[in-house]
Structures are given as structure tokens and as C-alpha cells.
Symmetry: C2
Subunit: 343 residues, 2 copies
């Protein structure tokens, strides 16, 4: 399939073309991750890659298709991106499933990007979950893809926005990004999403405490799932105390759900819609998407620079690292040397 | 205090000098994070920073002190770095406390770096934990620092190796890096550490499942903490099935502990020592430290490039992001434009 044909097929929402293009994105991201491992395999891959440039064939195709999808008749950054995050065991995948059905009932085309090793989509979790997700496997209006979280030093930062773009080009109105998270992962998903949903469960003990630190920074909507369990009121109360400190104009609403029984789904979609209206009216939506576009451009530029580091003659970075280890240089001077060698 | 004096004081292990230098590292990392936010505050900070360079005064000091510490009489990359990671609620901080005491009994000087929002060191957790950690506050041979995990797009990757270096220069023989983690955080801590300890607890349900995906990739030692709870044997059995698949020569041992009562501490330190011996004998230790040195240099170089992006005339990155949002360019071409503007 040639480049133009692949782009056209993606635009028509053909699942195989969508899958193929996201695979190209993922492979390219893995190459980026490899550049920074400094191991033998990475070196071998580099040696074969024309002075450390990305494997030329694959990435030329990727680049051309992405350019085709991004411009012209495209409407980039128009799909509603909803991030779902929370500690393991709170029911993120069940909640994702519930939202897939809710948006399908509205007639939306739904994309799902799972960057969560515990997600049934990425193959890490219970068989029961995986079976439960298969109901969407035959729905042509639902696109589900997992992304490996292997992309150290920017691999995921590079790949995720591009995967979103592919799903968007395939006509998805809503894209759910599911990620496991406390700490950094929460912040990362929040930067990708228009609306970030942080999911908790009652009786998680330290988990709730742990989630606290980062929650107000990233949550647009808070969900207490498994609300049929003991301790739900205590958890809600605790969250209410926290959100009471949130700055106007947006104070994250707290929604209780039992996702496994679809309870609370209307409250959740209402909260999501209210946040979307806030984003549209306040200009915050545009601001967030601008930040996302910045991140996307920067991640590509940095990945390109990193591949140039790796392609420097005689593996300059390895030589500098050895000198650093043997106290023959300091890290700042080594970084200067590396940058100077680029020129 | 001038630069030489600060370096000398750090070398003498003076807590205030150590704290001051790590604060310089943290502030510099926050500036790096700010460069990528694209918000008004970031723009203002940039405008004041001499065409987007890092705030010159602070970073000149940092750079000179770090150079002083890295070379000459320094013995960089000699402290034993032990990473502790696991889901919220498994008892990471209690385990960290147990290891602090174990290494203190051996006469080691111990550094602790907490990059975990749920850690009592970073102020996110239960009061009881925080009080429990105060026992070390008056011990001149224990240095405890928290790092914020705010550093999006490489901020933490930039800051953590440098904070390790400061603790090393202060004479710490052992540095414990505590991080909350499933997924990416696990991988990141593993890249920093000589030995990575993944902590689990029985009866965490999905938590164990969630941890599975990444565990074999990063764990050098597996700990099942809270081993007085139900289900410990099932968890150990499950882990044993997983580690049975690990490649020789190193198969991660599984240690059971009740960290709150110091049970299993000898088994844990024995497992850590065995892994250290393996690292020394196999050359794997040197290989890991070389990879760490590469990461350190690369993170500094990339941060410098990112600050140059931000310093480009008229905020070129913002302009490109706007064009991308309005379908006037594609992300690859925008990245090329950004890199071209650097020259």
C-alpha cells in the first residue's frame, strides 16, 4: 500500500490502515527508545541506520502519511480527548468500557489508547477483563489500540500525540486515553487530554493518600468508582475537602460510580460535558491544545536530535560517558562537547 | 558562600551545603519544566532569562560546583544506588526506613532520594509515617531529600542523576531512591539504580496483576512486604512462576518482609549483597553505570537545547504550534523548522 493510499484508508476509518499506521508510530518510538539504551542491540541498530538516522524507509512513509493527515482537508485537534488515570485496581478499564458504551449510544466514533500496563488492552491484566472488552472488537465505530510504555526519555511523549492524530484522522470524535498513574504518568496524561478524569476507589488506604499529592494539579473530574464498597462516603468527603481548595473558575466535580454495573454513567458524562463547555467558553480548551501542539513539535525535534547524538562519529556519547565515569570530565562539559559535535 | 566553598562543604558532608546544592539542582529542573509549559508564567520567566537561557546566576554556580564535584579528587559513580519501587500502599517508605537502619548498623553513610508523591519524605503521606521518619532527622550520617516529580519532559531525568552525584560527593556509600511506580516510573528508577527492588504486598488484587507487566524487565530483587497478611504464599507462588522465566545469569530472588516490624531485613540485605556481587563479577555493574552516565549527559544536552527552543526569537515554538493547530503545517515539518531556527 503506498503512502497516499494508506492516508486515504485511514481517513475512511479502515481499521487495518489505522492499525498499520499506529504500528509505524510505535516502531519509530521504539527506535527512539533504543537510541538511548547504549546497549549492544542499540548500537547494532544504529550502525545499520545510516549514521544513526531513523530507519529511512519506515520513517519516510510515516512522515509523509502524517503530513498528509495533518494538513489540507484535515481537522486536527478537534476530537475530544479524555484521559483516565488512577492507581492499579480502581477500575480504570471497566470505566473506560462504560464510557465507550456511553459515547457509542450518542453515535460517536470512539478511539481508545491504552498506555497502561494493567489494561486488558495492553494484555497485562485479568482474562475476565480482556473478555469483557471483546464486545467492542466487532464494532467498526470503536478503535482500540495499546501503546507500550517502554519509550524511555521521550518515546511515549513522541508517540502518543501522533497516535491520537491517527485516531482523529480516522474520524474518532472522542478518544479515551487510559493510563495507570500516580505521579508522573498523571501529569503526562493531563498534558495530552482536554479533560482528565482521576479515578479512585474507596478502601484503598494509602492509595488515596498517595493519589492526593498530584490530584488537584491534574484532575478535571474525580470519580470514586466501586461506590458499592465500604468507605465511599469517607473518600468522597476527603476529596471534597481537597477540591474545596481548588482555584475557581473550575472546581473538579466528584462523581460516584459502580462501573461494573454501569451505575453513575449519566453523572459522569454530565460532568464531562460540563467540563467541555467550560473549556470552550473560557478559552482554556484552545490554550491546552496549543500546549499539546508545542509538546508534539518539541518531542519530534528532540527525538531527531537524540538520533543525531547516536549517529555521531565513533559513538561520541559512549566515549563521553566513559570519561565521566572515570572522573575525567563533568556532566555539563560533556553535554557541551556532545552539542558541539553536532555542528 | 562562594562556589569553591560550597563544593568543599558538600565534600565534608555538611547537611546545609548538601541541601543547598540539591535545591539548586531542583530549581534548575523546574526552570527546565517551565520551558515546556507554554504558559504565561513560563513566558515571563523566559523573557527575563536572557533570551531563554537558564537564569544565568544560579546555573553558573550549579555548573561550577558540579564540575568541581565531578572531577579531580572525586570518585563519581561509586555509591551503591538502590531503587525501591512499587504501587501505592505496599509499604515502600517503611521498607526504605528499614533499609536506612540496616545500612546504618553497618556503618554506612546513607542518602535517600524520594521521588514519590506518596512518600512521607515528599510530604504527601500519613502523619504517622512522617513522624516515624523523624528518627533519622538528627543522624548526621543520613541525608534525606525529596524531589518533586513535576519535571515533565525530562526535568526529573535531568535532576535525579545530579542529586545522586551530590549525595555521593557528600560521602554517602549507599543511596536509596524511593519512587512510586507501575509502568514508566519503574523503568526510570531502574535506569538510575545499580539494584532495583520492586515491592509488592499480598492481597492487592489487581495491583499485583498490574505490576506484572513491567516487573521482570526491571526487578533485580522482589519483595513481598506485609507478609503477615493473608495471601502471601499465593503472591510468592505467582512471582516464582514469573521469575522462573527470567534469563540467567540473574534470576530475581523473592524476599518476604514485614517492614513495620523489621522482619526479613537480613534476607533482604543478603539478597541486595548477592546482587551487588553479581554486578561486580559480571561487569554488568559497569555497564549499568555507563548507561547512567550516557543518560546524564544526554539529559543535560537536551535540556540545553530545549531552553534554546524557548529562547528563539518571537517564540517560534508558539507560532509553530498555532500553525499546527490550524492545519497549516504538519508536526514533522514544524519540528524541522524549529531545528532550522536553532542554527
Amino acid at each position: 500500500m503506498d503512502v497516499r493510499e494508506l492516508a486515504a484508508q485511514v481517513r475512511l476509518g479502515r481499521p487495518r490502515a489505522v492499525a498499520r499506521l499506529i504500528s509505524l508510530v510505535e516502531n519509530a518510538a521504539e527506535n527512539i527508545a533504543e537510541y538511548s539504551t547504549g546497549n549492544a542491540a542499540g548500537n547494532a541498530a544504529r550502525a545499520g541506520g545510516e549514521g544513526g538516522a531513523e530507519p529511512p524507509g519506515a520513517n519516510r512513509v510515516l512522515r509523509e502519511v502524517m503530513a498528509d493527515l495533518a494538513t489540507g482537508a484535515a481537522r486536527p485537534y478537534t476530537a475530544r480527548v479524555i484521559g483516565l488515570t488512577g492507581a492499579p485496581g480502581v477500575g480504570k478499564s471497566t470505566s473506560t468500557g462504560m464510557l465507550i458504551r456511553a459515547f457509542r449510544r450518542r453515535g460517536s466514533r470512539v478511539g481508545v489508547l491504552a498506555v497502561d500496563p494493567s489494561s486488558p488492552f495492553t494484555g497485562g491484566a485479568l482474562l475476565g477483563d480482556r473478555v469483557r472488552m471483546q464486545e467492542h472488537a466487532t464494532d467498526p465505530e470503536v478503535f482500540i489500540r495499546s501503546m507500550s510504555s517502554r519509550g524511555h526519555l521521550g518515546g511515549l511523549a513522541w508517540a502518543t500525540p501522533q497516535a491520537l492524530r491517527v485516531l482523529e484522522a480516522a474520524g474518532c470524535d472522542v478518544i479515551l486515553v487510559e493510563t495507570v498513574g500516580v505521579g508522573q504518568a498523571e501529569v503526562d496524561v493531563a498534558r495530552l487530554a482536554d479533560t482528565t478524569v482521576v479515578i479512585l476507589a474507596p478502601g484503598m488506604g494509602d492509595g488515596v493518600q498517595a493519589a492526593k499529592a498530584g490530584i488537584l494539579e491534574v484532575a478535571d473530574v474525580l470519580v470514586v468508582n466501586k461506590a458499592d464498597r465500604d468507605g465511599v462516603q469517607a473518600t468522597v468527603r476527603e476529596l471534597r475537602n481537597m477540591t474545596g481548595l481548588a482555584e475557581p473558575p473550575w472546581r473538579p466535580p466528584i462523581v460516584t460510580t459502580v462501573a461494573s454495573r454501569e451505575e453513575g454513567v449519566d453523572d459522569l458524562t454530565a460532568a464531562l460535558d460540563k467540563h467541555q463547555a467550560y473549556l470552550d467558553e473560557s478559552g482554556e480548551g484552545r490554550r491546552r491544545r496549543l500546549a499539546r501542539a508545542r509538546d508534539e513539535i518539541e518531542a519530534i525535534a528532540l527525538a531527531r536530535l537524540r538520533s543525531r547524538f547516536a549517529g555521531l562519529h565513533g559513538d561520541r556519547l559512549d566515549a563521553l560517558a566513559t570519561r565521566l565515569l572515570d572522573a575525567g570530565t563533568d556532566p555539563y562539559t560533556a553535554a557541551d562537547d556532545l552539542l558541539a559535535a553536532l555542528r
